[in-house]
C-alpha cells in the first residue's frame, strides 16, 4: 500500500503532467468547420413570447462564446418556426437534420413537439436539447441517449410545491388543470408527491378545461362552492394569464390557498401588471431579481442592454444551453455526435444561478427551484415573489433509480 504522502505527490504529479499535455495540445487542436445548431421553437402565436425569450438568451451566450470560439470554431444557428404544432415541428426537425445537416437540435416550448422530435432524434442519433417544455417524460419515461433537458421539469416543480403545501398543513385538495400534456404532467406529479409527503391527503375533486378556454369563472366558482382546503392549478404558458386574472377578479386566492407552478415567474406576472392576484403560492427556476449574486446581476445587465427587458426563465435556459453546447464540444474535441453526448453527460458549468450539472443518468440539468408567494412591491412594475426560498435541484429531482424504473415500466 502506498503511503498517504506518496499518493498526494503522485496525484500532484499526474495533474501537472495532464495540464502540461493539455496546454501543449489545446492550441494545436482546431475544429475544421463551425458548429451548427438547429433551433425549432414557436415563433408565432402567444407562446412565441417564451420562444423569443429563450432564443435571446441563447444568442447572448453565443455572442460571448464566439468572441474566442470553441477550438477555433464558431457556433452558428438556424431557426425554424413550429407554430406550436408537433406535426410542423417534426417536419422542421427533419429538414434541419437531413437538409441543413445541423450538429445539434434545440427546442421547444411545446411538450408534444419536444416528445415528437425526441423520438426522431433517437432514430437519427442526433443530440436534442429541450430548453423550455417541462414534461417530465422527456428525460424520464421517454428519455434516451440523445435527449437532454436544460429546463426544470414537472417532476421537480411538482415535488417542490407538494412539499411546501404539506409543510403548511393542507390535506384536502382540489386539482384544476388544463387538458393537455403539460397540465396532466404537472398535476400528476404534484399529486404523486403530495401523497408521498402527506399520505392522508385527500382529493375533494378535480376539474379539467381545454387549452385556450376563455372564461374560467364557472370553473372557479364551482371550486369555491366545493370548499377544499387548498387548490392546485395545472396551467402553463399562455393559459396562466386567464387563471391568474380570474383569480384576481373574484378574490380566489384570498378564499382558498392556491398553488401554481410558474405563478411567481416574471414571464407570467409582468404582462398581467395590476391584473395579477396576490397571495398565490408558486415556483420557478429563475428570477432576475433573486438571488442577487454577482453572476446573476451580470447576466441581467447584459441581457437588458441587449434586448431592453430583463430575462425571464426561458432566457436563462437558452443562455445555459449555449454554454452547455460550447463546453461539451470543448471537452469532446470532436464534432462526432456520440462524442458530444458523452461529453455532455455529467458536465458542470457555471451559470447565473450557480454551478449546474447535466446529470449523467437521465440527461436532466440539476436546477434549483425557487418557491415564493406573489406579492406587490413598490420597487417593481409587476408583482414579485415574496419570501423566496431556494430548494437545491438534487432535493427535488427523482433519483436515478426512480428514472431507471420509470423507463423500464415504459418499455
Amino acid at each position: 500500500m502506498v503511503g498517504r504522502r506518496w499518493s498526494v505527490l503522485l496525484l500532484v504529479g499526474a495533474l501537472a503532467a495532464a495540464s502540461a499535455v493539455g496546454a501543449a495540445a489545446a492550441p494545436a487542436f482546431r475544429f475544421d468547420r463551425n458548429i451548427k445548431v438547429g433551433v425549432v421553437d414557436t415563433y408565432s402565436g402567444p407562446p412565441a413570447v417564451f420562444g423569443n425569450d429563450a432564443l435571446n438568451g441563447f444568442k447572448l451566450a453565443l455572442q460571448e462564446i464566439n468572441r474566442d470560439g470553441v477550438h477555433g470554431a464558431r457556433i452558428e444557428f438556424v431557426t425554424r418556426d413550429e407554430k406550436f404544432s408537433p406535426e410542423i415541428g417534426l417536419s422542421m426537425a427533419r429538414e434541419l437534420v437531413l437538409q441543413e445537416r445541423v450538429d445539434v437540435l434545440v427546442g421547444t416550448i411545446n411538450s408534444a413537439t419536444a416528445l415528437a422530435i425526441s423520438a426522431f432524434a433517437r432514430e437519427q442519433r442526433v443530440p436534442f436539447i429541450v430548453w423550455i417544455s417541462k414534461s417530465e417524460k422527456i428525460t424520464g419515461a421517454k428519455g434516451h441517449r440523445y435527449v437532454f433537458s436544460t429546463g426544470e421539469n414537472t417532476a421537480m416543480a411538482g415535488k417542490a410545491l407538494a412539499e411546501a403545501m404539506a409543510r403548511r398543513g393542507y390535506a384536502r385538495f382540489w386539482l384544476a388543470a388544463e387538458d393537455y400534456e403539460y397540465g396532466h404532467a404537472i398535476t400528476n406529479s404534484f399529486w404523486r408527491f403530495m401523497k408521498r409527503a402527506k399520505p392522508e391527503s385527500a382529493l375533494v375533486g378535480q376539474t379539467w378545461w381545454r387549452t385556450g378556454e376563455p372564461d374560467l369563472v364557472p370553473y372557479l366558482t364551482q371550486i369555491l362552492q366545493a370548499r377544499p382546503q387548498a387548490v392546485f392549478f395545472g396551467t402553463g404558458g399562455a393559459g396562466m394569464a386567464n387563471v391568474m386574472r380570474t383569480m384576481q377578479v373574484i378574490g380566489f386566492a384570498q378564499r382558498i390557498p392556491s398553488a401554481i407552478h410558474t405563478a411567481i415567474d416574471v414571464t407570467v406576472l409582468r404582462p398581467l401588471g395590476a391584473a395579477a392576484p396576490e397571495g398565490v403560492f408558486g415556483t420557478t427556476d429563475y428570477l432576475y431579481y433573486y438571488p442577487e449574486t454577482p453572476a446573476n446581476r451580470k447576466f441581467v445587465q447584459d441581457f437588458q442592454a441587449a434586448y431592453g427587458s430583463p430575462p425571464g426563465f426561458p432566457a436563462f435556459h437558452g443562455y445555459i444551453t449555449g454554454y452547455f453546447v460550447a463546453e461539451a464540444y470543448r471537452k469532446a474535441r470532436s464534432l462526432d455526435r456520440d462524442r458530444f453526448v458523452e461529453a455532455l453527460e455529467g458536465l458542470r458549468i457555471p451559470t447565473p444561478m450557480g454551478e449546474v450539472e447535466m446529470r449523467g443518468c437521465d440527461h436532466q440539468a440539476v436546477l434549483p427551484i425557487i418557491f415564493g408567494v406573489t406579492r406587490r412591491d413598490p420597487r417593481f412594475p409587476h408583482l414579485v415573489a415574496g419570501d423566496p426560498t431556494i430548494l437545491p435541484g438534487r432535493d427535488v429531482m427523482p433519483t436515478c433509480e426512480d428514472i431507471r424504473r420509470e423507463r423500464e415500466r415504459a418499455q
Binding site: 415563433y43 408565432s44 425554424r80 418556426d81 407554430k83 404544432s85 408537433p86 406535426e87 410542423i88 417534426l90 417536419s91 422542421m92 427533419r94 429538414e95 437531413l98 437538409q99 411538450s111 408534444a112 416528445l115 415528437a116 425526441s118 423520438a119 426522431f120 433517437r122 432514430e123 387538458d179 393537455y180 400534456e181 396532466h184 387549452t211
Partner: protein, 318 residues
C-alpha cells in the same frame, strides 16, 4: 398517346427518385404522394360526386390512428395494422355518411364538420389510448420500413396502386353514374338511380383511400398527431383540390405538391406562410377558378378541337 408517355415518365421518375435526390427531397416527395392521395380521395366525392365533404381529414386521421394504436397499444404486426387502418376509415365513412347523405348540400357539410369534430375531440382527450395532444411517436415498424428508401418504396407503390384503383372507379359505370348524379340529381332519381346509395358508396370509398393515405403517413413519419383530424387540415385539402382543379383527376395531386412544397419553402423564409396561402387562395378563386390542371386541360382542348365542356367549368353549378 402523349398521356401514356407522360404517365410512363412520371412512373420512371418516381422509381429513380431515391437514387437521384438528396434524402430530404425523397422524404418531401413521399409526403407529397401521401397528401396527394388524400386530396385525390377527397375529389372522388367533391369533384366527381359534388358533395360538400368538409371534414375529409377525419378519415385520414382515423386510418392513421387505428394503425398507430393497433401497433403500439394492441401489439398488432405492422401489416395487420396497415390493413385495418383503411378499413376502419371506410367504416367511419359509412357511419358519418349514413347521417349526412340524407341532408342538403350545406347541411351535409356542416353536419360532417360537427361529427368530425367529435372524433377530433376524442383523439385529443383520450390520453391512455391516443396520447392526447402529444399524439403517438416512434411507432415501431419492421426494420425495412424504418429506413427512408424502404418507407419511400412502400409509399410510392401504395400511392400508385391506389391512384390506379381510383382512376378505375372514376371510369367505371359506378363513377359515371356518380357524375351524372352530380350534374343532375333529379333526373338521375327519375331514371331509377338510387342517388343516396351511390353517394354513400362514394363516401365509403373515399374514406377508405383517405385511410390508406393515413397509414402511409404512419409508415413515413412513424408518428400521428391530433391535428390530422382538425378541421383546418380538411379545409387545406379542399384548397389543394381547388388549386389543382377539381374537375380533373390529376388536379388534387398537383395541388398537394404545390401546397406541401410552398409550406416547406415559405416556412423557411417567413413565419407568415398562412398569409401567403390565404392570398394565393383568394387570387385563385378570382383568376383561376378551374385550377392549374383544369386550366391546362382547357387550353389543350381549345388547341386541339372545340370542346363540349363549358369554358368556365367552375362557374356553372350553383
Amino acid at each position: 398517346m402523349s398521356g401514356r408517355v407522360l404517365l410512363g415518365l412520371a412512373l420512371a421518375a418516381l422509381a429513380a427518385a431515391p437514387a437521384v435526390l438528396p434524402p430530404f427531397f425523397v422524404y418531401l416527395l413521399a409526403l407529397v404522394l401521401v397528401t396527394g392521395l388524400l386530396a385525390t380521395s377527397l375529389n372522388l366525392v367533391l369533384g366527381y360526386g359534388g358533395l360538400y365533404q368538409f371534414h375529409h381529414g377525419v378519415f385520414y386521421g382515423i386510418g392513421a390512428y387505428t394503425a398507430a394504436v393497433g401497433i403500439t397499444r394492441l401489439g398488432w404486426p405492422a401489416w395487420l395494422a396497415f390493413l385495418v387502418g383503411p378499413l376502419a376509415a371506410g367504416l367511419a365513412g359509412l357511419v358519418i355518411g349514413f347521417f349526412c347523405v340524407r341532408l342538403s348540400r350545406l347541411y351535409f357539410g356542416m353536419l360532417q364538420l360537427s361529427l368530425g369534430s367529435f372524433v377530433w375531440i376524442v383523439a385529443l382527450r383520450w390520453y391512455p389510448v391516443t396520447g392526447g395532444d402529444n399524439g403517438i411517436h416512434g411507432i415501431p415498424l419492421p426494420p425495412v420500413l424504418q429506413t427512408l428508401p424502404g418507407a419511400y418504396a412502400l409509399v410510392a407503390g401504395a400511392v400508385v396502386a391506389s391512384l390506379a384503383a381510383l382512376w378505375a372507379v372514376v371510369r367505371s359505370p359506378f363513377g359515371l353514374t356518380l357524375q351524372a348524379i352530380r350534374d343532375n340529381p333529379q333526373r338521375s332519381e327519375v331514371m331509377g338511380v338510387d342517388v343516396r346509395a351511390h353517394q354513400l358508396a362514394a363516401i365509403v370509398l373515399a374514406a377508405f383511400f383517405a385511410g390508406v393515405a393515413g397509414v402511409l403517413y404512419v409508415a413515413l413519419e412513424r408518428s400521428v398527431f391530433p391535428s390530422m383530424l382538425f378541421w383546418v387540415l380538411s379545409l387545406e385539402i379542399l384548397v389543394m383540390c381547388l388549386l389543382g382543379g377539381w374537375f380533373t383527376f390529376s388536379g388534387p395531386l398537383v395541388g398537394a405538391a404545390v401546397v406541401v412544397g410552398l409550406r416547406t419553402l415559405a416556412g423557411r423564409y417567413t413565419e407568415y406562410w398562412t398569409l401567403v396561402l390565404g392570398v394565393l387562395l383568394i387570387l385563385l378563386i378570382f383568376f383561376l377558378p378551374e385550377g392549374i390542371m383544369g386550366h391546362l386541360q382547357q387550353r389543350w382542348n381549345a388547341h386541339r378541337a372545340p370542346s363540349a365542356r363549358p369554358a368556365t367549368a367552375g362557374d356553372v353549378r350553383g
